[in-house]
Symmetry: C2
Subunit: 343 residues, 2 copies
């Protein structure tokens, strides 16, 4: 090992992966797309196969003091299905790798698997393999999702073109504020174990955090409407961070408008209650698992009445950069502030 | 959560997975084979697509006091490639999921990725995705291997037939004894940190533990010789345990002969040095990542001169059970004693 020591946090997740994998070059003709998109894309006759995997690690990605195991199982599947959705693909199988310490009983794992099964049933995904092993401490889940897409349908991060329209589904910032509410109630509980957590009125936000859904409904609707997005990513790290990913892959700039950003009333009110700027929560909250995509102007007519698709901006030249135009008309340069687990 | 508490160790890994997944039924027509083989098998036009994933967790599967990070990276890829080999498939891509604590520097991860790259180069596999995340403690790797097989070539665990010949590649028990040597030297070092580990003379065994190879060479040779095994598994949990997996899936019994078991001279000598029964090391050692397969009698002529394929027994009726015939001619019922990480 070299004597020099560079701390991981000096890099951040994206740069670290880039740094570590820069010397790898795909050699198999079937590897259509490797690192740098939501899923790997592999030639499979007249289709593409898609594969993506994600870790969920106790006390990094979830806190079991308030995260029910059934929801955890569901979320672990949903976030991987979301990666397949982000390629405009259809999920088909998952592999579930589970590492658990002796702290967990068979009964608690049954509850976790009930959540996994509920998600498999909902997304029509087959559990097709995996591994269960011991862990020195805590619980880790690593799920691989496998899906497919017709060659004409596949959507990467790379093909946004100037003047196209930027779309976001659902509403943003809710999962982040749900986490703030859960963390606040945990602190209250830890300081006085007689206190019961007060989650009434925050149901929507808590659900956004504990039971996010992959937007497969949108993918199926887009296919019915014959709209193929030109670029797409799921909003897992935060809108700003994910726009910068589309920008980087497509080599285009993005201009989005604060007044067009979708935010739920409860998200807005709770941000104010927590003395947080609601727009910052929308831009940097993360974990909403909504879809961010670009469409050709021609496709706008097909989508414009959709209650859950919001038109938040447009694509511009790379040299024009990535900005948010505030409600007062000022441009603010977009910065990635997503999750920084290494801090 | 239920009030009843059943300890995980009361089940053991295989029964636990069966128990947790018994209610899952594949629903997609493309899911050809799910849980219960070395890899998931998915329809892909005129081929099958294979996918398998495995966890490697610090202080469960490896000890970094003697496991060099470069070898760890190599082994993590090799053990997943071995699962694809065990389906008579060709590996094409891997996804690497890495969880690391702040203890690790960027330089140490570079060394880990050098090992991953060496294995990718050796097995002609593309790094096609993955995730890097923080971990509260230690290092975990979860690698997914993706491969393919022609439909005529695919070999599951399920089709061994009576009177067929049981084959094992390489030699067995070495990885287990390598681990014993490394653990002994670690104890010596911990009790007196002036002592340097004495690994001279044990190079072969240490290499079997630290740098196992997936037997893709055998897979390519079988294809050249036009031999398609009737059933196959990689020897990761121990020969006895893996024979019982073939027996269960094929619904046949297996009879193997102690005098035919492949054991390296150094493995034998070191077993004796450690006061272990060499045959027990071969049967239960695990982690050799050799291949165990069955062939039709007609194929014996093609393989009989092969220096690295050993004919260790034959397939019999299920009712006849699974036995080892000792050198003195006594039948001993085979029992699975592989790795029991939950103890």
């Amino acid at each position: 090992m070299s004597e020099k020591r560079t701390e991981i946090k000096a890099f951040g997740e994206f740069r670290l992966i880039e740094h570590l994998t820069s010397s790898f070059k795909p050699g198999n003709p079937g590897t259509r797309l490797g690192i740098g998109d939501d899923a790997a894309v592999i030639e499979a006759g007249d289709k593409y196969f898609l594969s993506s995997s994600d870790f969920l690690i106790e006390n990094i990605h979830f806190d079991l003091t308030y995260f029910p195991l059934q929801h955890l199982g569901y979320k672990a599947v949903a976030v991987n299905v979301s990666d397949i959705a982000a390629m405009n693909g259809i999920p088909r199988q998952i592999l579930v790798n589970l590492a658990i310490s002796n702290r967990f009983s068979v009964e608690s794992l049954e509850v976790l698997y009930q959540g996994i099964k509920a998600a498999c049933d909902n997304y029509k995904v087959d559990l097709a393999g995996g591994d269960t092993t011991a862990s020195p401490t805590g619980l880790s889940l690593c799920i691989t999702a496998i899906g497919e897409a017709d060659k004409k349908d596949i959507t990467t991060r790379a093909n946004a073109r100037e003047h196209e329209i930027v779309c976001a589904t659902g509403d943003l910032g809710g999962a982040y504020l749900g986490l703030q509410v859960l963390e606040r109630e945990k602190e209250v509980f830890l300081s006085n174990q007689q206190m019961q957590p007060k989650l009434e009125g925050y149901d929507y936000l808590v659900k956004r955090q504990l039971k996010p859904e992959a937007r497969m409904d949108i993918i199926y609707e887009l296919q019915e409407m014959k709209v193929i997005p030109t670029s797409m990513i799921d909003i897992s790290d935060g809108l700003a961070s994910d726009i910068l990913q589309l920008s980087k892959a497509s080599k285009k700039g993005f201009r989005i408008f604060e007044e067009q950003l979708p935010i739920d009333k409860k998200t807005y009110e709770t941000a104010v209650e927590f003395k947080l700027d609601p727009t910052t929560c929308v831009l940097n909250g993360g974990e909403d698992y909504e879809l961010l995509f670009t469409i050709r102007q021609d496709d706008y007519e097909k989508l414009k009445g959709h209650p859950d698709i919001h038109f938040i901006g447009h694509v511009q030249k790379l040299e024009e950069g990535n900005q948010l135009i505030t409600k007062s008309g000022n441009p603010v340069t977009l910065k990635a502030q997503g999750w920084q687990n290494f801090q």
